[in-house]
């Protein structure tokens, strides 16, 4: 019975991912196809080339091929694991994406964890001390943060910590002359700090407000009233009855935030010149590197899908309450 459900769930999700990727690829391909980008121009840049060479390149990029056929060729190549060659890096797209994505994953995972834990703690404090000054401070902080432009906060941090205090260099990319492989782990951590702090600070707002609301709900429930009548109080009460009940929904919410996380990473990486997938996205977009851009779109879709999938798994298999609620509906 449980096994059957598992297989059904996996099958459904796999189908969903495939259909999603097909339509995302179709849609994004169509969008880029609409754009006035000339792939040959994008490839050669400002160089002067002979007409024969141009014709050769046009054939290579399929300028005169109808779009359906172009999409079909591209999709078949991708199925064979060939994402094409990036125009700006002059390397296979898949290599660029894997390298960049792993760098970004470190940044995203760090800020995801910090913002999750910090937001949860703040939310619990605000919910416990509802109506007090502490609660108001936390609420105001979250309210303002939710309205703060990511890139502006990043700029402020860069100004304060790099320009005034001089703790960090202004461009935080790999030092000149060193390749990404031979930087030490400390160089990594060093470069990670400011972007991760920016993303963490901003990520706190949503999770804190959610936790606060849920905790207040739980604290006004009958079983908490009963626990209070038995003499439980303070932090003990909240830990025993509150946190246990709100941890799972909060974790689920955090997993659903992968899309926002990716968007934040694009902005933050651009400002701190952190050599991740976000920076590659902006470069690919600005210099019309179509193969790389489409590859990134596909991988970002898989990334977001993974977050949603984990949230769904928690929903279906881990949390008995949500399962019961669904059955009741």
């Amino acid at each position: 019975m449980e096994n059957e459900k598992l297989v059904g769930f996996a099958g459904k999700k796999a189908l969903k991912l495939i259909s999603l990727l097909v339509f995302v690829s179709l849609f994004s391909f169509w969008l880029v196809e609409q754009s006035p980008i000339d792939p040959v121009r994008a490839y050669v840049g400002e160089m002067a080339i002979s007409p024969e060479h141009k014709a050769q390149l046009e054939e290579y990029w399929g300028v005169n091929v109808p779009p359906q056929e172009k999409y079909f060729n591209w999709a078949v190549n991708i199925l064979q694991g060939n994402f094409g060659t990036s125009l700006i890096y002059k390397r296979p797209v898949i290599d660029v994406i894997l390298e960049r994505f792993s760098v970004s994953l470190v940044l995203m995972a760090t800020s995801w964890l910090i913002s999750g834990i910090l937001g949860f703690i703040l939310g619990v404090i605000a919910g416990m001390k509802r109506g007090t000054l502490m609660d108001k401070i936390i609420k105001t902080y979250c309210y303002i943060l939710a309205a703060t432009p990511t890139f502006w906060l990043a700029l402020l941090l860069l100004m304060v910590f790099s320009v005034y205090l001089g703790w960090f260099p202004i461009g935080l990319s790999v030092p000149i002359g060193a390749t990404a492989d031979n930087v030490t782990i400390f160089d990594w951590l060093y470069r990670l700090i400011l972007p991760a702090v920016t993303l963490s600070l901003l990520g706190v707002a949503q999770i804190a407000m959610f936790t606060r609301k849920k905790l207040i709900e739980v604290l006004s429930s009958d079983y908490v009233l009963f626990a209070k009548a038995r003499g439980e109080k303070g932090l003990d009460l909240v830990l025993r009855h509150g946190v246990r009940n709100i941890a799972l929904p909060a974790i689920t919410l955090q997993f659903l935030g992968f899309s926002e996380l990716f968007g934040g990473a694009i902005l933050v990486e651009q400002i701190f010149s952190y050599p991740g997938i976000g920076q590659a996205t902006v470069q690919a977009g600005l210099s019309s590197d179509v193969p790389l851009l489409l590859g990134i779109v596909l991988f970002s879709a898989i990334f977001v899908f993974t977050g949603n999938l984990i949230a769904d798994i928690i929903y279906e298999f881990v949390d008995p309450r949500i399962r019961q609620q669904e059955a009741a509906q």
Binding site: L20, F23, V24, F27, S28, W30, L31, V32, E33, Q34, S35, P36, I37, K136, K139, T140, C142, Y143, I144, A146, A147, T148, P149, T150, F151, W152, L155, L156, L158, M159, S162, V163, Y164, I170, M209, K213, F258, S259, E260, F262, G263, I266, L267, Q270, I271, T281, V282, G285, L286, S288, L293, I296, V297, S300, A301, V304, F305
Partner: protein
């Protein structure tokens, strides 16, 4: 989140009840936003005088936000940029709202259309918003049209879900059933019974969509995919300011960004407070 605004300024208006307070907050923030819009329209179009005699001045009484490397007053540039943001945000959210209403109603027609709309929502949520806006903007060749289309096409999902859920819930209500048993047409029920419930929800949804639209427009423009560099947009101002950060000209980035934050916050406040007013449970607290 919604009660945050009500308590935020408690100290200032102690004598007022919640209803008076919310109306006061809504009026004040609306005046602020209209002021920005109107002054930017009055200023708009005119190229700012460049005055190299007063370039890169720190904030002072004559130039509250300082001046940039061409001696232009940053305060005026910021107001113009905010006005532009408001217009782009308004057009984009309006388009998005129309899309959301149409799709929300479409989803209520049958099971198949409902499945289609949910699938469409999932599809649009599957690519990170910012990346999607960049993609659409590239597809349409950038510029104002690209940004507006990008923002409009990515922000309808949450409002569609609200409209869809609301219609679904209304359909199960007894008075709707009774009304239809008494021979009222579907259209009549939709207009007389459903619309009064939907309109406040949609209104709040639109106002709360605004700040997202404005922030995304500024972000995309900042990255270089949105409005063109000679428009006085906030995103452009901030990306220009990056070149001067190392020189210590902090006011180039600080004030325009702070103004953007205040505008976004003003919209959040208006949306939340209208929501409070329209909800009969909280309107008379």
């Amino acid at each position: 989140m919604s009660s945050a605004t009500a308590t935020l300024k408690k100290g200032l208006f102690l004598g007022l009840n919640l209803r008076q307070k919310t109306i006061l907050i809504i009026s004040l923030t609306s005046i602020l936003l209209f002021g920005i819009l109107i002054s930017s329209l009055i200023l708009g179009g005119e190229a700012l005088p460049t005055n190299f005699g007063s370039k890169n001045l720190a904030p002072s009484l004559a130039h509250p936000f300082g001046t940039d490397w061409m001696g232009r007053d940053m305060f005026i540039r910021t107001v113009e940029g905010l006005g532009l943001s408001l217009i782009v945000g308004f057009v984009a959210s309006s388009l998005s709202t129309i899309l959301a209403i149409v799709l929300g109603i479409f989803s209520s027609l049958s099971k198949k259309t409902d499945a289609f709309v949910s699938w469409l929502v999932d599809l649009f949520l599957s690519i990170p918003h910012l990346l999607f806006i960049i993609l659409i903007s590239i597809g349409l060749g950038g510029g104002v049209v690209g940004v507006i289309a990008g923002v409009a096409l990515t922000h309808w999902t949450s409002l569609t879900r609200v409209v869809r859920a609301e219609i679904k819930q209304l359909k199960t209500q007894e008075y709707i059933h009774i009304s239809s048993k008494m021979g009222k047409s579907k259209l009549w029920i939709a207009i007389k019974h459903m619309m009064p419930h939907l309109i406040p929800q949609i209104l709040v949804g639109v106002i709360l969509m605004f700040p997202h639209a404005i922030l995304h427009e500024a972000s995309v423009t900042f990255l270089g995919f949105g409005l063109s560099p000679h428009e006085p947009a906030i995103g452009i101002i901030l990306s220009e300011s990056m070149k001067y950060l190392a020189a210590g000209y902090w006011w180039l980035a600080f004030f325009p960004g702070l103004s953007l934050l205040i505008v976004v916050l003003a919209f959040d406040m208006i949306g939340d407070n209208i929501g409070l007013l329209m909800d009969p449970k909280s309107a008379h607290d």
